[in-house]
C-alpha cells in the first residue's frame, strides 16, 4: 500500500470502532470476563481491557494490572477468532416429516459481517490456515465462507510477549505482515497513541475518516522498537525447520509414553488452538418427528474420535497425543502446505498439567539436557 501510516489517539480508536459500527459491522474484540481476556462484542473503546496484562506459563494464566493504561498490553487469551468463523456449535440442517418422507431445510445464510479488532499476527496466520482448510480444498464449507466473507480485520502488532509465546520460532509474528485491513501499534503512556497502517483500500478509506496526525520517521522507529522488543522476549522457543521429519521418523519414540503419562486427554489444547478444526455431528429428535443435525467442535483426544466398529483406532492416550502433535506440526504440512502451529502458546497455557509442545519437540530431538524446557 502506498498510504502513509497515521497516528491517532484514544479518541481516534473510539472513532474507528464507531465507524465500523456505522458501516454495519459487528465489532468483536478483547474484553475482560471471568478473569481472562476473551473476544466479545465491543460497543465502545471503554469495553477494551485498559490497563490489563497477563502472566502465562504452562498450565497457568493470571490477569494482572499494568502500570499504564495500555489497551492491548496482554498476550492471547483462551479465545481464538475461530469461534466466530468456525462456530463451536452449528445447526447443519433440520428435517421435518412431510407426508410420506422428510423435508430437509437449512438456516438462512447469515448476513452479519464481522469486524475483528486487535488480531495478533499469530492469529492472522491461524485465520489464513483455516482459510486453506475450509475454503481452498476440493470442498468448501459454506458456513465458514459466509462468516469469513467481508470480515474486516484490525491487526495489532504485539507490544508484549506472553510467557508461552513462540511466534518468532514459527515465523508468524510478532509483527502483522499481511491479511489485515488495518494494523495498529500501540504507544502506551502519555500521550497514549496508536500508529495505524492500512493493508487494503477499504482499510485506507476507513483510516481517512479518523481524527489523526501524519506519522513521522520517529513514530515508525518507535513502532519498530515495540515489535523488536516483543520478538526478543518470547517466552518459549522451538526449532521448527526439521520438525515434520523429526516427528514422523520417531513415531515409536519413548517420549510418547512419557507425555501420555502426564496427558489427561481433556482436549483443552484442541479447543483453544486457533487452527484445530475437527468437528463431530449429533442428531436430536423431537416428538413431532423432526430431526436436527448439529455440528460441534470435537477433539482427537477423545476415544470416540477414531471409533470404527470393533473399537477405537487410537485407544491409548499415547496414540492420541501423538496424533495431535504429529498432525499439528508434521502431517499438516503435507495436507495444507503449512504447519498447523502458529506459536501462540495457548495449548501450553491452557493445558491443566502444563504439557509444553516446545518441550516435547526438544525431548524427541534429544537436544535439551534434562528433557529440555524450550525456554531461551
Amino acid at each position: 500500500m502506498s498510504h502513509q501510516p497515521v497516528v491517532v489517539g484514544r479518541d481516534g480508536l473510539a472513532a474507528l470502532i464507531a465507524a465500523l459500527h456505522s458501516d454495519g459491522f459487528r465489532v468483536l474484540g478483547p474484553t475482560v470476563r471471568d478473569d481472562a481476556i476473551v473476544y466479545d462484542d465491543v460497543v465502545t473503546v471503554d469495553d477494551l481491557p485498559a490497563g490489563w496484562t497477563d502472566e502465562q506459563d504452562g498450565g497457568r494464566y493470571r490477569l494482572k494490572r499494568r502500570a499504564d493504561n495500555a489497551l492491548f498490553g496482554y498476550a492471547v487469551g483462551p479465545h481464538a477468532w475461530k469461534r466466530f468463523l468456525h462456530q463451536p456449535l452449528l445447526r447443519l440442517w433440520r428435517a421435518e416429516p412431510d407426508g410420506t418422507g422428510m423435508q430437509v431445510a437449512t438456516d438462512a445464510k447469515p448476513t452479519e459481517r464481522f469486524a475483528f479488532l486487535a488480531v495478533r499476527s499469530c492469529e492472522l496466520h491461524a485465520i489464513a490456515i483455516q482459510d486453506r482448510v475450509f475454503l481452498q480444498g476440493p470442498y468448501v464449507d459454506p458456513h465458514y465462507q459466509a462468516r469469513r466473507d467481508g470480515a474486516f480485520i484490525v491487526a495489532v502488532n504485539c507490544g508484549e510477549a506472553g510467557g508461552t509465546c513462540f511466534c518468532v520460532s514459527m515465523n508468524t509474528g510478532p509483527k502483522a505482515a499481511t491479511g489485515y485491513d488495518l494494523a495498529l501499534t500501540e504507544f502506551p503512556g502519555e500521550p497514549h497513541e496508536f500508529l495505524l497502517e492500512a493493508g487494503t483500500e477499504r482499510g485506507a478509506a476507513l483510516l481517512a475518516r479518523l481524527p489523526q496526525r501524519p506519522s513521522t520517521p520517529a513514530d515508525a522507529e518507535r513502532a519498530d522498537a515495540v515489535v523488536a522488543k516483543t520478538a526478543g522476549n518470547m517466552g518459549r522457543h522451538m526449532r521448527s525447520d526439521d520438525v515434520p521429519d523429526l516427528l514422523l521418523d520417531n513415531l515409536e519414540h519413548k517420549r510418547w509414553d512419557d507425555v501420555a503419562a502426564r496427558c489427561l486427554s481433556c482436549g483443552n489444547c484442541t479447543q483453544v488452538c486457533p487452527t484445530c478444526f475437527c468437528t463431530a455431528v449429533t442428531d436430536a429428535n423431537d416428538l413431532s418427528g423432526a430431526t436436527e443435525r448439529t455440528r460441534r467442535w470435537d477433539s482427537c483426544f477423545s476415544q470416540n474420535f477414531s471409533y470404527i466398529h470393533g473399537g477405537a483406532v487410537r485407544p491409548s492416550p499415547r496414540s492420541r497425543y501423538r496424533q495431535w502433535m504429529t498432525h499439528k506440526l508434521a502431517s499438516w504440512v503435507e495436507q495444507f502446505g503449512t504447519s498447523g502451529c502458529v506459536g501462540c502458546g495457548r495449548c501450553i497455557t491452557w493445558c491443566p498439567v502444563g504439557i509444553d509442545i516446545t518441550e516435547e519437540v526438544s525431548a524427541i530431538r534429544g537436544d535439551a539436557p534434562g528433557g529440555g524446557h524450550g525456554r531461551a
Partner: protein, 286 residues
C-alpha cells in the same frame, strides 16, 4: 445453541445436506448383512459412482454412516450398497424395508484404478465384508474379460456362514477364465474347501507378478499381511491397492476424524496405493 429464529430455507448446494432416496429392494445376506438397492425418490437421476467409492447413508433420527457401494457401476438406475449391522446406525440401515426413505450424500472418495487394469493380470483379494466394494470391480472385470490377462479372485471369510455373496461366488467359480479360491479361518462340517488365512493362497497365484495389479480390501490387519505377501511374490508396491477404513463423519475432509498421517481417508482414500500407505499401516494405533 443459538435460538432457532432463522427461517428455514430450501436445502441446496451444501455437501453436508442429504438427498432423500428410497429403498427399492432389500436382500438379506449372511449374519446381519443386508444389501439395499436404492432408487431415486424424485425426478432426479441417482448420482453415478466409480467402483471403490462410498456414500454416506442417513437414517432419520438415528445417524449417518459411510457405506461401500457393491453394485454394478454400469447400471445407473440404482445404487446397490451392502451393510453389516455392527452399531446403532448400521443396525437401523439394515432394518430399512422396501419403500422406506433415507438420506444419501454423494458417492465420495477415490476409486479402484480400473483404467490401469487394461492389459494386465488382475489379482483381487477380499476379506469378509471387504468383498462388497470389490464386487463392483468384479462386475467390471467379468463384463470386459477380454481386456485383461489372468484374473484371480481370492476370498477369505471367518467361517462358512460368513461368506458374502455366496451364490455369486459359486457362479463365478464355474467360469474357466477366472481363478477363484475361497478360504475360511474356521470350518464346520459343511465346509469342504480350504481352511486358513487367505495369505496361504498367495504363493500359488497364477499371474505374472511383473504385469499384475492387485486390489485388496478387508480388515486392516488382513490387508497388512496380504499386501506384504503380494509384495513378496514380486508385485511392485506401486501396483498394489488397498482400501482403508476410518471413522468418517463428513466425508469431505473437514471433520478430521479419518485423518491418518498426511491423509484424509475420506477424500485422499479410501482406495490408496500400497507404496503410499505401507509404512503407516505398520504403525500401531496410528
Amino acid at each position: 445453541m443459538p435460538a432457532i429464529t432463522e427461517p428455514l430455507a430450501p436445502a441446496e448446494g451444501d455437501p453436508m445436506l442429504p438427498r432423500i432416496v428410497r429403498v427399492g429392494k432389500r436382500a438379506r445376506d449372511h449374519n446381519g448383512t443386508v444389501t439395499l438397492t436404492l432408487e431415486s425418490a424424485d425426478e432426479m437421476p441417482l448420482p453415478t459412482f466409480r467402483p471403490g467409492q462410498f456414500t454416506m447413508l442417513y437414517v432419520f433420527g438415528v445417524g449417518e454412516i459411510p457405506v461401500s457401494i457393491s453394485g454394478d457401476a454400469a447400471d445407473e438406475t440404482c445404487l446397490v450398497q451392502t451393510v453389516r449391522a455392527v452399531g446403532a446406525v448400521s443396525q437401523a440401515v439394515t432394518e430399512l424395508q422396501p419403500g422406506d426413505t433415507l438420506g444419501l450424500r454423494r458417492p465420495f472418495g477415490t476409486a479402484w484404478p480400473l483404467e490401469d487394469l487394461n492389459g494386465r493380470d488382475v489379482v483381487i483379494v477380499a476379506g469378509g465384508l471387504g468383498l462388497a466394494p470389490l464386487r463392483s470391480v468384479i462386475y467390471h472385470v467379468l463384463a470386459n474379460r477380454a481386456r485383461f490377462g489372468n484374473v484371480a479372485l481370492l476370498y477369505g471369510a471367518r467361517n462358512p456362514a460368513d461368506i458374502l455373496f455366496r451364490s455369486q461366488l459359486e457362479m463365478w467359480r464355474k467360469r474357466l477364465d477366472v481363478q477363484l479360491d475361497v478360504m475360511v479361518d474356521h470350518a464346520d462340517s459343511s465346509w469342504h474347501g480350504r481352511v486358513g488365512a487367505v495369505t496361504l493362497l498367495l504363493p500359488r497365484l497364477a499371474v505374472d507378478a511383473a504385469r499384475a495389479t492387485a486390489l485388496v480390501c478387508g480388515p486392516e490387519v488382513m490387508m497388512r499381511f496380504v499386501a506384504a505377501g503380494l509384495s513378496d511374490t514380486g508385485i511392485p508396491d506401486s501396483s498394489i491397492w488397498v482400501s482403508l477404513e476410518r471413522n468418517m463423519e463428513c466425508a469431505i475432509g473437514l471433520c478430521g476424524h479419518c485423518q491418518v498421517e498426511g491423509l484424509f481417508v475420506c477424500k485422499d482414500g479410501p482406495v490408496l496405493r500400497y507404496d503410499r500407505v505401507r509404512r503407516l499401516m505398520g504403525v500401531k494405533e496410528l
